[in-house]
Symmetry: C2
Subunit: 244 residues, 2 copies
């Protein structure tokens, strides 16, 4: 498991846990996994998809199982056939959202190797947030805010998702570092970038304007840019790379 080697020194086990969870769905212990036919898998997918949409729109607490049932055209017994209880469904929703969020920005996220590429990722994220016409916020951020109770950190799957995300950012920064473009420790920068993104999305959704997101990412990118090495070939200046 190479993703997110450390979140802050103790994340290995959690990321490992994510892999395990995805592999055997929501059975941490050795309970015999119920076999699903093609039809069963399709129904389960429908439920998770609809639940993810509803919970993103109305929140976890604001989404009842009857809502999910109505939207998916399923019956109560089916929900409890595929999930032990509501929290198990929430766990599946988290995993789905982690996957969705990361795959939606995959090309730009994983190809970061320069300030210009980082700006392309920024543009991608901004575009994603506005594509439905209004700032929808980050599914992971919303889940994290709602599911994080006092004195407890968020569900392990969510923490692992954030760690993976941040790790990919750090990977890009490390590539910049190896190319000699960046002179700074990548990890704190990656954490700062992810935080700027989350905060920007939160305020963007709260205010109904994409502006906070853009301002947050731009400021964070300025911060990263402050750690780029002065252009080695004296003449090819870095500002030439600025996109848009």
């Amino acid at each position: 498991m190479d993703c997110a080697v450390h979140y802050w020194s103790t994340v290995d086990s959690q990321v490992q846990f994510l892999g395990t969870v995805i592999a055997m769905r929501e059975r941490p212990s050795g309970i015999p996994e119920p076999v699903l036919t093609a039809r069963g898998r399709a129904t389960r997918e429908r439920i998770v998809t609809a639940a993810a949409d509803l919970m993103h729109a109305r929140g976890v607490a604001g989404t009842s199982l009857d809502d999910v049932r109505a939207v998916t055209g399923t019956s109560k017994s089916q929900l409890y056939h595929y999930f032990t209880d509501k929290s198990a469904l929430v766990g599946a929703v988290i995993q789905r959202q982690v996957q969705q969020v990361l795959s939606a920005q995959q090309p730009e996220l994983d190809s970061i190797d320069s300030l210009a590429a980082l700006r392309r990722w920024r543009d991608r994220v901004v575009a994603l947030n506005c594509q439905i016409g209004y700032p929808g916020g980050c599914p992971l951020g919303r889940l994290a805010a709602e599911l994080t109770q006092a004195e407890r950190c968020a569900p392990a799957e969510l923490v692992a998702g954030f760690a993976d995300w941040e790790h990919r950012l750090a990977g890009g920064l490390r590539r910049m570092q190896e190319r000699g473009e960046l002179v700074a420790e990548p990890d704190p920068l990656a954490a700062g970038l992810l935080a700027a993104l989350q905060g920007g999305l939160l305020l963007a959704q709260a205010t109904g304007s994409p502006f906070p997101l853009e301002a947050a990412l731009d400021l964070a990118l300025d911060g990263v840019a402050a750690h780029v090495a002065p252009a080695d070939p004296p003449g090819a200046a870095t500002p030439g790379q600025r996109a848009a």
Copy 2:
């Protein structure tokens, strides 16, 4: 979508609105305000305080009126004597949290006039988040995340609170600008700083570590520092200002 329209152009009026709301409590229209005796005001305060704590710890949806009743030693009729319904109580809680959050960082927030002062504010915020032993998150951020529904922006009081907060940051940056230390538009930088703070707090609480908050603020401060004017006396370099 009026909240988006007014977010930037009419921030002052929202701050004004916040004042109005506080003055006449939760009666936007001209309904005769019920007179409260000293005892009544004390009881109301107890209720709001307890509700704010509970809702911060367990979320708004996770806090029942019976919980509030039990903690405050009041009866159901008292809750409905002082508040028309639960949403009115939530509104009062929002106002209280806005006031609490801003006053907790007031000296450092309002005295920003240099990079060093900005760093003192950063340290204050970090210290506030850790003072209870674990990262508790921002009360406003948590409320915003939970109360912002799809396609709707957050409650007006919350948006006004964020606007006030950001306005004070922008004021500090403007002082830096007027002193010639900063060469950039203050407003986007203030929005970016607030977003970094919110995102950092979100991830700090989700992961149970203060690190994301520190990384987020440091990166944002690096971004601001990238816009400080090159030291006028050529020889006294800016890095000399770095605190800590």
